[in-house]
Structure formats: structure tokens, C-alpha cells
């Protein structure tokens, strides 16, 4: 009997370890959340804090879902920040109050769908362009997206003449700033996007193709996957997601300018990496991406809440990212 019991405990322990090892990102997130809860005597668990976190991370979540899929196919995208910036500016320019004399199109009251459409299309075009450069132009993703990053930045400055695109209509701002009961609209949009991405990655042929390409693109090709087409598709999907991110960000801020969303690519890449989307490709889940975003979000939020000096915040964030990637690499090095 005693021997049986001991074996049972051992099994349970093994199971627990396996669970932790499999869900490191979730465990990390929960640990951080509990830690912050203790440090703030429970206030970080109260609804206003949770709500703040959701609002703060929602735009980044869209960027992360986009680049997360790209990284699953073993790509990378550095153009996110400036593409989102350009999209936000384009969307904002069609949503300015018509009586605002400094508007880009003064005196014109555009219908509400136009800024959203223009923004998402702009994002999609940049994604498509990235995809074509990488898939058919055979450019390394790093270089191709570095180029489009600069193009997006230049286009933003030219389009806006480097000015602030402000004074947005309330009807546009409420898209981002409104709430459904206690739940911020932004969080609802993220939830909807998550469902789509989850279905795409888990329950469609296309999703399987993304993993196959990231795991081994030669093998994927041999097994009949059109690697070029799927690559274009994944970058375009990501571009559309950045498009949504930019539209929502403009609505949230009530403006856009050349500084909007700068550096978002690093936040998004870091978040999905912390969330277990391996840089070696072929590995990662939608839930991982969102857990990654929330993990970095809670670190940001916690440090702001605790009043940590902004310079130290950058240090801490940097170290946490390095540590997360370190463990990620070790995990997959062992497997290989």
C-alpha cells in the first residue's frame, strides 16, 4: 500500500512538473499577477485596475496576434510600429471634425466607415507588400520589413506634413473609448479577433500550413504546400490586424502623429516571445500570444503602479524579455 501511495505521489509530482514545463508562460503570468496583487494589497485585482490593463494592452494585442502568426511561419516583421502609425494617421485624417480648420480635409464630413476602411486597407497593403517581397522577391524578412518600416514612416510624414492629426469626431472616438456595460469596447474587439485567430490556427488547413512552413519549409513544400502563397497570406493577415490596431489607436488617443505607436514592433515581438511563440518557427498558440501580451502588460502596469522610475522600467523589461527567450531557446534546443 505504502509503495503504491509513494508511486502515486511521484506520478502526481511528475504531472505537476510536466504541466508547469508545458505552460511556463501561463504560470509566469499568474505568478506575476499574484505577486503584484500582494504588493498592491489586492488593489490590482479590483475591476478598475483590470479594466485599465485591458484598455492599455488591447491595441498591442492586435499587433501581437499579427506578428505572432508571422513568427510561427519563421518570419519577422519590423514594420509594425510605423505601419500602425501610418494607419492611425490615415484613419484619423478621415475622422476629423469638419469645422476644424487645421484638418487635412477641412469642411468634409466623411461617413464613419471610411476611416476604418482606409485604415485597414492601408495596413493590408503594407502586409501584402511585405509578403510579396519576402515570398517572391526572396528578401530576408528582416530586411524587407526594415525597408517597409522606413517607407511607412516616410509616407506618414508626407501625408500629414509631420503635423498632428487631431480633433477627431466623438462618433469615431467612441468606437475605441466606449464600453459595453463595464467591459471596454477595445477588449471586446480583441476577444473577437482571438476567436478568429484561434479558429484559423487550430481548425483550418491554412493554420496547419503556417505551422508546417515554420517547422520546416522544405518539408512543407515537398508535401505540396504553396509556401510562397501562404507567406503572402500570413503577412497580409498581419497587415490587416495592424490596420485594425491603427484605427483603434487613433480613436483611443483622439489623434495621431509621427510619434504614435513608435516602437510597437518591439513590444509585440517581445510579448509573443514571452508567450512561447518560438523564434525557431512552427511553435506557438493564440492563447500564448495573448498571455504574452498580458504578461508584459502586467509588468508595465505593475511598475507604473509602484512608481518605478521609467529608466529602470526599460531595464527590467529588457531583462525579462532576455530571460524568457533564454528559457525558450533552451527548451527547444533540448528537443532538437
Amino acid at each position: 500500500m505504502a509503495a503504491n501511495n509513494a508511486a502515486g505521489t511521484l506520478e502526481a509530482r511528475k504531472g505537476f512538473r510536466a504541466f508547469i514545463s508545458k505552460n511556463t508562460n501561463l504560470v509566469t503570468f499568474i505568478t506575476l499577477a499574484v505577486g503584484l496583487g500582494l504588493l498592491t494589497s489586492g488593489r490590482s485585482f479590483e475591476w478598475p485596475s483590470v479594466r485599465n490593463l485591458m484598455i492599455a494592452e488591447s491595441v498591442r494585442a492586435f499587433a501581437a496576434l499579427g506578428v505572432g502568426m508571422i513568427i510561427i511561419t519563421r518570419g519577422i516583421d519590423l514594420s509594425i510600429g510605423y505601419v500602425v502609425c501610418l494607419v492611425a494617421s490615415v484613419a484619423a485624417s478621415f475622422a476629423q471634425t469638419p469645422d476644424y480648420t487645421a484638418a487635412l480635409y477641412p469642411g468634409i464630413d466623411f461617413p464613419l466607415w471610411l476611416p476604418l476602411m482606409a485604415g485597414v486597407v492601408t495596413g493590408g497593403i503594407f502586409g501584402l507588400f511585405n509578403g510579396v517581397l519576402i515570398a517572391y522577391g526572396k528578401l530576408p524578412a528582416f530586411i524587407a520589413t526594415l525597408g517597409t518600416m522606413s517607407i511607412a514612416r516616410g509616407a506618414q510624414l508626407i501625408y500629414t506634413r509631420a503635423a498632428v492629426v487631431g480633433s477627431l469626431k466623438d462618433s469615431y472616438k467612441v468606437i475605441s473609448q466606449g464600453s459595453l456595460g463595464p467591459i471596454p469596447n477595445l477588449a471586446i474587439y480583441v476577444a473577437i479577433a482571438c476567436v478568429f485567430i484561434w479558429i484559423l490556427l487550430r481548425h483550418t488547413k491554412r493554420g496547419t500550413n503556417f505551422y508546417a512552413i515554420g517547422g520546416n519549409s522544405m518539408a512543407a513544400r515537398v508535401s505540396g504546400i504553396n509556401v510562397e502563397r501562404e507567406t503572402v497570406v500570413v503577412y497580409t493577415y498581419a497587415g490587416l490586424l495592424y490596420g485594425i490596431a491603427g484605427c483603434l489607436l487613433a480613436g483611443r488617443l483622439g489623434l495621431a502623429n509621427a510619434l504614435t505607436a513608435n516602437g510597437m514592433e518591439l513590444d509585440a515581438i517581445a510579448a509573443v516571445t514571452v508567450g512561447g511563440i518560438s523564434q525557431t518557427g512552427g511553435v506557438g498558440t493564440m492563447s500564448g500570444m495573448i498571455i504574452g501580451v498580458l504578461t508584459l502588460g502586467i509588468i508595465n502596469y505593475g511598475m507604473t503602479y509602484l512608481g518605478v522610475d521609467s529608466y529602470y522600467q526599460l531595464l527590467v523589461k529588457g531583462f525579462i524579455i532576455i530571460v524568457a527567450v533564454w528559457f525558450d531557446m533552451k527548451k527547444y534546443a533540448r528537443r532538437a
Binding site: T31, P48, T260, I320
Partner: protein, 354 residues
């Protein structure tokens, strides 16, 4: 598991000094500590808070308006009601004011002007800043003095051939400073001929690049360089020095062939003046602005604020001026205008910290 340990350790390190004794609490939302003026502003806030026994929660948004909104939300959840704000953009101030008004608080805005709509959110919202047009007018005065002393530098027909390096387009400081210096020179009877003008986004390196191109294109055709801030002025100075656009003496106050003017009176700009490079600048008073804003926030936090309150010895304006938001009679009593000061060869030493 190791990851957990590391992260737990990081959190533990951060845990120091979380709980404070009940003191008046003021939140300070600061645009970007990388900018000299803003850094000086924040440093003075810390000094004032320490003196007044105030718990100052100072956060830097690193030029990101989204971050600034998140920081505001976080502080509001923590129960902070009264704020000193150096915003990222005028257009975002109304939204911030509304969020603060919702918890019955108040705020004083500095450096980037709040919109009229932001001040109209409630009587507890203030402008504690310097009217940008005054900086431009003072530049015009300095230029007038320069050409009075050196009439030979003028082009025929009392003409000023100017190069303008502008801040971020549409930024209130860019708009009002530029308009005022141009209007000031014309009012003084000069013929102002703009040889070239372009934005360098407040940045020295962009200004230097623009200036390099302009020296090549307009060599000898301009007699002054007017900029919206010291950073760009120093970029222009570097460019002129590199191009050897200099003369052997500094009798007119600069070794450059043409005078260069900035705004801000940063320490590095004053040093350049001491080396006869930058000709003159205008002090945007970080101590004056931060002291005014801080005293307003503190008065609100301690229930001592009444309309007409004197902050840093300044009374609120009574008559609407020309520049938003102090141009609207409805909010004029919420506008505290901190004066700019001309900084020239005669007085620059008094502004140097050492």
C-alpha cells in the same frame, strides 16, 4: 521554474517604498524626460515636493500619448486626484481632463498648451505655461537689436533674408513662435524675405542635415537663422561650423557669419553662447512653469484653491489674449502665464547653473 524565481526576485526588488504615510498626493505626468526643458521641469517638481512634504508620483510617458493615458488611468485607480501634466499633444488634453474631472480632481498643464475645451471641462483645470507667441516676439526684439548694432549685415532695403528651422509642424510652440517672430520683424519695419523654411522636428540632427543642404544651396544669400528651439539652433550652429561659415572675429557676438537664434536657454545652448557660437536664445522658464503648476495642484489637493489664487506670485489672467487657450473669456481665470525672458550676451551668465 528558474524563470519564476528570476521574475519573483525582480518584483521583490521593486517592492521597496510602496506604502507611504498619508501626505498630500500629486501625480506628475511628464511627456519625455529626454528633453532638456522637461527634465529640468521634473527635477524642480521633485525639489518642490520634497520641501512641501508632498507624495509626488512622477511618471514619464517617453513621448507616447497612449502610455500617458495608461499612466493617468493607473494613478486615478490609485486614488490620485490632482495632477501636474506636461502633455504629449494639445489634442489629448481634453480627454485627460475629463478622466480627472470624473473623480472630482484637477490638473495644471504646462509646456504644451491645453485646449480651450480641456479648460472648459471644469474650473479645476489650469494653464501654467508660457504664451508661445511671446517667445517669438522676444526673438524679434533680439534680431532688431542685432541689426541696429550691425546695420551693415542687413541686405539692401532693410531686408532680412532668413532661414527658418521649425519644430514639429502644427505644434503650438512651432506655430505661435514662428508667426510672432515674423510679425514682430515686419512690425519693426523690416522687409522679411524667407529664403527657406522647413521642419526639423525639434531635433539637432535633422536641423544639421537641413542646414548642410541650405548652406550649399543658399551660400551668402541669407543673413540670419531663426529656429523654434535650442536643439535645432545648435544643429544649425554645428552645420555652419563644419562648413567653415565663420569669420575671424566675434565683434557682433558670434564667430559665425550669420547669427543663429534659439528658444529654451538650455545649459548646452548657454555654453555655446559663452563660446561665441549661438547668438541668443529665449528662456522658457522651467522653474517658473513647474512652480506655478505645482502650487496650483498643491492648493487643490489641500483645499486651499480659490478663484484668483496666486501661484508662484502670478495672478491668473483677466483679459483674453491672442493665443489659445488664454484667448477665451470663459477660461481666462484659469490661465497663468509664466513670462519668457530674452537671453543675450548681456545676461546669459546668470542663467548658467555653474
Amino acid at each position: 521554474m528558474k524563470k519564476l524565481v528570476v521574475i519573483a526576485l525582480v518584483l521583490a526588488v521593486l517592492a521597496g517604498g510602496v506604502f507611504a504615510a498619508p501626505k498630500p498626493v500629486i501625480g506628475a505626468l511628464i511627456r519625455n524626460l529626454d528633453e532638456q526643458f522637461v527634465a529640468d521641469y521634473a527635477a524642480n517638481l521633485k525639489v518642490l515636493a520634497a520641501k512641501a512634504g508632498v507624495d509626488l508620483k512622477l511618471l514619464d510617458s517617453r513621448s507616447d500619448q497612449a502610455t500617458q493615458l495608461d499612466q493617468l488611468n493607473t494613478l486615478i485607480t490609485q486614488g490620485v486626484k490632482f495632477f501636474v501634466i506636461v502633455p504629449n499633444q494639445t489634442e489629448a488634453t481634453e480627454q485627460m481632463a475629463k478622466a480627472i474631472q470624473a473623480v472630482g480632481g484637477g490638473a495644471a498643464f504646462s509646456n504644451i498648451q491645453p485646449s480651450v475645451a480641456a479648460l472648459k471641462v471644469g474650473p479645476n483645470f489650469f494653464l501654467a505655461s508660457s504664451p508661445e507667441s511671446v517667445a517669438g516676439s522676444i526673438q524679434a526684439d533680439i534680431i532688431d537689436n542685432y541689426f541696429k548694432k550691425n546695420p551693415g549685415k542687413l541686405a539692401a532695403g532693410k531686408t532680412i533674408n532668413a532661414l527658418f528651422l521649425l519644430g514639429q509642424l502644427g505644434h503650438p510652440a512651432q506655430k505661435y513662435r514662428t508667426e510672432a517672430v515674423k510679425a514682430g520683424l515686419v512690425a519693426k519695419g523690416y522687409k522679411l524675405n524667407v529664403i527657406a523654411e522647413d521642419t526639423a522636428n525639434w531635433k539637432p540632427d535633422e536641423a544639421q542635415q537641413k542646414m548642410d543642404a541650405w548652406i550649399a544651396a543658399y551660400n551668402g544669400k541669407f543673413n540670419i537663422v531663426i529656429t523654434n528651439n535650442d536643439g535645432m539652433a545648435l544643429g544649425a550652429v554645428e552645420s555652419l561650423l563644419t562648413a567653415k561659415y565663420t569669420k575671424s572675429d566675434a565683434a557682433d557676438g558670434t564667430i559665425l557669419k550669420v547669427p543663429v537664434l534659439g528658444v529654451d536657454a538650455t545649459q548646452v545652448a548657454l555654453k555655446s553662447m559663452s563660446e561665441d557660437k549661438l547668438y541668443a536664445t529665449v528662456l522658457q522658464d522651467s522653474v517658473g512653469q513647474s512652480s506655478t503648476a505645482f502650487e496650483l495642484a498643491l492648493a487643490m489637493a489641500t483645499g486651499k484653491y480659490k478663484p484668483g489664487f496666486k501661484a508662484w506670485g502670478l495672478s491668473p489672467e483677466t483679459k483674453p489674449g491672442s493665443e489659445a487657450p488664454a484667448n477665451d473669456a470663459a477660461v481666462i481665470g484659469q490661465c497663468y502665464l509664466v513670462p519668457f525672458k530674452a537671453v543675450t550676451k548681456d545676461n546669459y551668465k546668470s542663467f548658467m547653473t555653474k
